[in-house]
């Protein structure tokens, strides 16, 4: 049993560390003391930092070299994030673009698209957003209703609405899943598009969450006309293209932040500060339970890296880490607020944001129920629930839904 790097990894780590040592003074401060507060300033500074990382080969490092990456493996990319964490500097700004959408374009895009979009994406010159989810298409993503109609001149006209769109307020482009043929079964009639966010008819509206902040957006499309060459991965192949994005999403979320910074040691400090709480049996029991599970997630992360290094795909422990992390953090937030009292809910308390953020995180990137379904079916081989939408044209399905809802 060995937590150490291989000689090659150690060498790579030294390189990364040396670069960070020399350049971390240029990193923007986004959290804690001296942090930037103005959103525009944050955007400019974070964008510039991504550009610097890209030039050093530390952004999109798993991308192939021909598109500006380093062609390194997933374990080395973990080394980069570990070193950045250690150095106390933020990662790139456009995690969604570089981590998920870029790899999708690399896998399915045309050569022209790759040449045009990947460079500016990597350097943070053009930020991207992912426009998949809709008000009525979340867990059942293939139910998207945003409609793209082919025009006679080859262009497309978009109408519909997307939601949970991170970074849409300053994104240059979005990757959008739209329905192009409603008269065939729902998984088959979709197409993936690149949409310029400054196109006429695109409206971005912040979606305020419990905390009061708007980290997500709604995006509306009213007769938005987009070019013929904006299709990614072929017409009516939107589902296949989207699955690639979702695969990279799991990898990005899993390897990037298996604990989202919710560490037991951090929670311990808040409890220690109250001597009564620290000696209270019930507090200790609650805390001990959630701390031990969070500790498990740290080691689950190491297991995943060890598996990747062996050329294996990380196992089921990987997919369930999010469920454990979120539920433990929810418990920790409740426990700490119980100890601190209403002050923990004040805007300037370090706990208020976490407490407000977690209910949404429970559903983000797949609800807990969908995750349990997926793991039960794909990992444990349990049969799926019977479905009522298989093989039925999407338009017919929608008609049935309307009928059912009005009955």
């Amino acid at each position: 049993m060995d937590l150490n790097d291989t000689p090659e990894q150690a060498e790579y780590r030294q390189e990364v560390r040396a670069w960070l040592d020399a350049n971390k003074a240029a990193a923007p401060i986004l959290q804690g003391e001296g942090a930037l507060t103005d959103p525009d300033e944050i955007l400019v500074a974070h964008r510039a930092w991504q550009g610097k990382l890209a030039e050093a080969g530390l952004a999109g490092a798993t991308w192939p070299k021909e598109y500006g990456g380093q062609g390194i493996g997933p374990v080395e990319s973990v080394v980069i994030s570990q070193e950045m964490q250690q150095a106390g500097v933020p990662g790139i700004l456009d995690v969604i673009g570089v981590g998920m959408l870029g790899p999708t374009i690399i896998a399915h895009g045309t050569e022209e698209q790759k040449q045009r979009y990947l460079g500016p994406m990597l350097h943070g010159d053009e930020i991207w957003c992912q426009m998949f989810s809709e008000p009525a298409a979340g867990s059942d993503l293939a139910a998207v209703q945003t409609r793209a109609k082919h025009n006679d001149d080859g262009t497309w006209t978009l109408n519909g609405q997307k939601v949970w769109t991170t970074n849409a307020q300053f994104a240059s482009y979005g990757l959008l899943l739209a329905r192009t043929n409603p008269d065939i079964p729902k998984h088959k009639g979709m197409t993936m598009f690149i949409v310029p966010m400054d196109a006429k008819g695109v409206t971005v509206r912040g979606l305020r969450q419990i905390s009061g902040e708007a980290e997500f957006n709604e995006v509306f499309f009213d007769d938005v006309v987009i070019d013929a060459d904006s299709v990614v991965g072929g017409e009516e192949n939107g589902w296949g293209t989207g699955l690639t994005t979702l695969m990279f999403e799991r990898l990005t979320i899993g390897l990037g932040s298996s604990s989202f910074g919710y560490r037991a040691t951090r929670f311990a400090e808040a409890i220690m500060a109250d001597p009564v709480a620290a000696n209270d049996h019930e507090v200790r029991h609650n805390f001990g339970e959630l701390a031990a599970e969070l500790e498990a997630i740290r080691w689950t992360g190491y297991r995943s890296i060890s598996a990747l290094q062996d050329g294996q795909i990380p196992g089921p422990e990987f997919g369930l880490a999010k469920v454990t992390t979120v539920n433990c953090a929810v418990r920790a937030g409740d426990l700490i607020a119980d100890i601190v009292g209403p002050e923990a809910l004040d805007e300037d308390s370090e706990w208020a944001y976490m407490i407000s953020f977690l209910p949404g995180l429970k559903s983000a990137g797949g609800t807990e129920e969908i995750l349990r379904n997926t793991i039960g079916e794909r990992v444990l081989g349990l049969p799926p629930e019977p479905r009522l939408d298989k093989g039925i044209p999407f338009s017919e399905l929608r008609a049935k839904e309307k009928e059912g809802a009005s009955a």
Binding site: Q86, A278, V283, W299
Partner: protein, 381 residues
């Protein structure tokens, strides 16, 4: 980074599985509830396999292996509910070896059966060495120890000690008048030793309540940290054993959920059933991760042994508790009858929950370590 098993560890694990497969352990677990003699004596199995000397240094005739290796055997034992005396014998052999006992070689060779009497190290809310109460919630002080040269005399009672009933040599932990722990090897037939052996609920667990009334033995040269290590070793072994039991139960649940049909479809297709089974998997995988951490702490981070082993016992203990009930639920009524093995898992989980501090004490210890600034030191690369 490499957290996989070495070739030697795979061999050790396979050999354990093979050794247990030659004894009908699950059948024995059921029959022994009614007929005490149905439980096979697993001391010879442990001796033949070399497990009694597994943690003993090579110069004292042992294999010189580590806690994680022992945990692999415990995991295999847990899979088939084998009543092998690991919880008593392994910590005893480790303390005898570290403490310089002249009995170590005989114990490692399986010629002398030794067992440890559990003693729990102090915490910030229970700042003294304690032992299992025979009854009730209050934990008694560890037996009072009087040291006279190389001899220690004990007075006190230790409840519910695994495997101690069959032992010829008891490794006893007491506390001197200053509250410091003292360990000694006491012959089971020495004057002043009374052993009440038996079992409760889970017939595969042989337990004993031992009363020491001026019983003397040879002092072991051990410090408090070494003595505490035995406690955490046993927490780790129970965690690993629980992992094995959960693995078997998960497979049994899966098989049934795929073949049992209600309302025209397999019950495993219903989300209520599926999500419950996935919850077993979640707890199992978390427990496995913590067992790896515990093995790593024993071999590389001695300062984190208390924390890691307590995390493992806490999560695996609660995990087995959940699994045992979920297994019954998945199987419906039949799961609560002797027609099925699920009640044996349940009996194991019920007793485990209260054994050697119960997993609740480990949960408290996790908090204690963190709240006193003794959490993990995380460094990478």
């Amino acid at each position: 980074m490499n957290l996989g098993l070495s070739d030697e560890q795979q061999f050790l694990r396979d050999a354990a599985a093979d050794a247990f497969s030659r004894v009908k352990t699950v059948e024995a677990a059921r029959e022994a509830i009614e007929d005490d003699s149905a439980l096979p004596d697993m001391w010879p199995t442990a001796a033949e396999a070399g497990w009694l000397g597994l943690l003993v240094s090579e110069e004292n005739g042992g294999a010189g292996l580590g806690a994680y290796d022992a945990m692999l055997i415990a995991q295999e034992a847990g899979k088939v509910l084998a009543g092998v005396p690991l919880l008593g014998a392994l910590p005893a052999s480790m303390l005898l070896d570290m403490g310089g006992s002249d009995k170590t070689e005989a114990v490692a060779a399986g010629e002398l059966k030794a067992s440890w009497l559990p003693a729990c190290p102090p915490s910030s809310i229970e700042p003294r060495w304690t032992v299992e109460p025979v009854e009730g919630m209050a934990r008694p002080d560890a037996p009072a120890a009087t040291v006279d040269g190389d001899t220690v005399t004990f007075n006190g009672t230790v409840g519910w000690a695994p495997d101690a009933g069959e032992a010829e040599l008891l490794v006893v932990i007491g506390a001197d008048s200053d509250g410091n722990p003292v360990a000694a090897a006491v012959e089971a037939n020495a004057s002043g030793v009374t052993v009440h052996a038996g079992w409760r609920y889970d017939a595969t667990r042989r337990l004993a309540t031992v009363t020491l009334d001026g019983a003397s033995g040879a002092k072991l040269d051990l410090d408090a940290e070494q003595i505490a290590r035995a406690w955490y070793l046993v927490q780790a072994l129970i965690a690993a054993e629980s992992v094995g039991t959960m693995e078997t139960a998960l497979q049994v649940c899966l098989d049934y959920a795929k073949e049992r049909y209600t309302f025209g479809r397999a019950i495993g297709s219903y989300q209520a059933v599926k999500h419950g089974i996935v919850e077993i998997l979640r707890r199992l995988e978390n427990s496995k991760s913590l067992c790896i951490y515990t093995g790593f702490a024993f071999s590389d981070k001695p300062g984190e042994i208390a924390y890691a082993a307590s995390c493992a016992r806490s999560v695996a203990g609660a995990g087995l508790d959940f699994t045992a009930r979920q297994q019954i639920a998945v199987h419906g009524g039949i799961g609560a009858t002797w027609e099925h093995d699920a009640p044996l898992t349940f009996r194991r989980a019920q007793l485990n929950r209260r054994l050697v501090g119960g997993h609740g004490m480990s949960t408290d210890r996790v908090a204690d370590e963190l709240l006193n600034g003794r959490g993990p030191v995380v460094s990478v690369g």
